[in-house]
């Protein structure tokens, strides 16, 4: 039997129908006052009704966090932990950690970007997850396309995994029609995202995402210059490069390496400016955010216009796996400074594997 965890954020998505952009923090109470009804039970029940596998033993969160929905079906399940009448993010994290202690192989969660953040806090990259979209904010590309697609992902579960970004959207700014997001972390998800993809014949020429990252790192290592400060942006591709360099990189921070030595960890703007001024030559290596393609101005606010002005376009190297770059219309910038955006826009080369590159427009 496969042990699969199931947890529902009962308030996710409630803000949508009443015009609120999200239910993080205490906002959900306002949503209830405005007459919002829970939407997550319908979403999870749609998924559950389409699961055909009989070899699953669910580890389910109690009451409205999962138990109430799964009880309507014939699945084998066990309830994990307890909850009070009112639930919040700490319940999600606490219960998921309990599920991990029970050795679940896969976690299914229902919610939006806020829930994905909580799941990341509890799970990290330890086990794969399938996210059923039910929130108002759905900017993180970790979610299945729909409850139906999630069911097909479970039915056709593949061990081939990919890492997708969890984005931290500022709800206050979002309510003012501004999208302000930073990279919060990564979750592992199965690589088949839709029913059609799941049914496709496996390609005998495809290489795993990890292999591609290794190739990118190998290629960069061959082309590293001495006496140059390398500033590594966030992300797992950059982590692979740092591993090759033999330095310990923070996954979400900006770190700097000079002649094989780590000279800056989790740098902020001030730290970056100091280092760039200290060394004669500096190069930034970054990877775009999957799905929206931002290289600056979203994932890593530390790369401020000041920092980018000092570095200049010719000293920026962009890396991304084929899978990621193929799904982007263009790369994007939003540094907050129009002049800097202009100076960095135009076409750029992205290293996608060993001696392989894609030329793409930066807008």
């Amino acid at each position: 039997m496969k042990k699969i965890g199931l947890i529902v954020n009962p308030i996710a998505g409630m803000g949508g129908s009443v015009g609120l952009k999200g239910t993080d923090g205490e906002i959900y109470k306002k949503a209830i006052e405005l007459g919002a009804k829970p939407t997550t039970p319908q979403r999870i029940e749609e998924t559950l009704s389409l699961i055909k596998r009989e070899d699953i033993h669910f580890m389910v969160a109690p009451g409205k966090m999962g138990e109430n929905s799964i009880g309507k079906f014939d699945f084998k399940y066990e309830i994990v932990s307890t909850i009070n009448e009112e639930t919040n993010a700490s319940d999600t994290k606490r219960i998921v950690k309990k599920m991990l202690e029970k050795n679940i192989e896969l976690l299914i969660f229902v919610g939006g970007d806020g829930t994905a953040r909580d799941i990341y806090d509890a799970v990290g990259l330890n086990i794969p997850v399938i996210g059923i979209p039910s929130g108002v904010k759905m900017f993180s590309p970790v979610f299945a396309l729909s409850p139906n697609a999630a069911a097909q992902m479970i039915n056709n579960y593949t061990k081939e995994l990919t890492e997708k970004e969890v984005l931290d959207i500022d709800e206050e700014a979002f309510r003012e029609n501004k999208i302000s997001a930073k990279l919060y972390g990564y979750l592992k998800v199965p690589k088949n995202i839709t029913l059609l993809q799941a049914k496709k014949e496996p390609s005998n020429v495809s290489r795993s995402e990890e292999d591609m990252k290794e190739e990118i790192a190998d290629y960069l290592m061959e082309n590293l210059e001495k006496e140059t400060l390398y500033i590594l942006g966030p992300g797992t591709t950059l982590k692979t490069i740092a591993d090759k360099m033999g330095v310990e990189k923070t996954l979400l921070g900006i770190d700097a390496v000079f002649n094989g030595e780590l000279v800056g960890i989790d740098l902020n703007e001030k730290g970056l400016l100091t280092l760039i001024k200290m060394y004669n030559k500096s190069t930034i290596i970054v990877t775009p955010i999957g799905g929206n393609g931002f290289i600056f101005g979203r994932a890593s606010k530390q790369f401020t216009p000041e920092v980018l002005k000092l570095i200049g376009k010719k000293n920026i190297v962009v890396v991304a796996t084929e899978d990621k770059i193929n799904k982007l219309e263009c790369l994007r910038l939003d540094t907050g400074n129009i002049e800097v955006d202009k100076s960095l826009s135009g076409f750029t080369k992205v290293i996608t594997a060993y001696k392989k590159e894609t030329i793409i427009e930066v807008k």
């Binding site: 697609a149 799905g291 263009c330 030329i359 427009e361």
Partner: protein, 315 residues
Amino acid sequence: MNENPYLPAESIRKAAVKGMENVNRYSELKYLNELKKLIGKYSNIPLNRVILSPGSDFILREVINIFSKDRKIIMVNPSFFPVSQYAMKLALKLTKIQLSPPGFKLDPELFLNELDEPTLLIIDNPNNPTGASILDNKLVENILQNKNVLLLVDEAYYEFSGQTFAGLIKKYPNLAITRTMDKAFSLAGFRLGYLLAGDYFKDQFSDFPAFLSKPTLFAAIEALKNPEYVTKNIKKIISEKARIEEELKKTGIEVFPGSANFILIKCKIPDFARKLMDSGILIKDLSEEWLNGFYRISIGLPEENDALLSIIKNN
């Protein structure tokens, strides 16, 4: 799969059956030469420049096999996916140029700047899956004047677009064109592709074996001798394509103009391809290899197209 919804003429099916006689024997050279001669006449190219192949992607792969050893490959993205994946696997050095909506245009200057070392360029024109015509005569000649460069244009949809560079083959030894009889000629099940080769390609393919079966040869010969059905079917497909495009636009779906036998759309309806599949209609969901929300719709029979439109309108 992007196929022709119409069967080939009855005489072609009969010719294929005739090709079944004496199947204990290999295909005779005279039939291969006859087919080459007919393709040469059809393409206005001497028969010694025609290389036959079971499907054009087979020959595209062979071109990559031969020329990727000491050349950089340049392709656009998206492109005919099987060939693109093969290039990714085999190329020692590969540059892809991303085509972006809504125009999917190639920046000629950007492109020509990349030709500073021995290069094999593979471009499908019209492009699959966007349908965009991305090459013109001026750009092609600019590319070909660079002796470092070999240019292979995949003209799988030539009969629908009406645009070809075959006229440049005699002048430029570094140009080759692939075409297929799978699409306009309704012979997908037979898999017949061919290469129109400039001198440089011709020399490399001089010992390329012909892998074609007798029924395929007979069907293709008959099709080229009596191609009236092709012209008729192309007209029907182009007219249906225009009708579907107009109807789709009315529903608010974004339709991208193209000159192949399919339509590229962008659609925000969740699970769009699956919903159509549940009703027995298959379209190509491009989200795995390319962009989310983009789909390629092949033109079907009028009643199939009606069914498609009716499902979309009721969603």
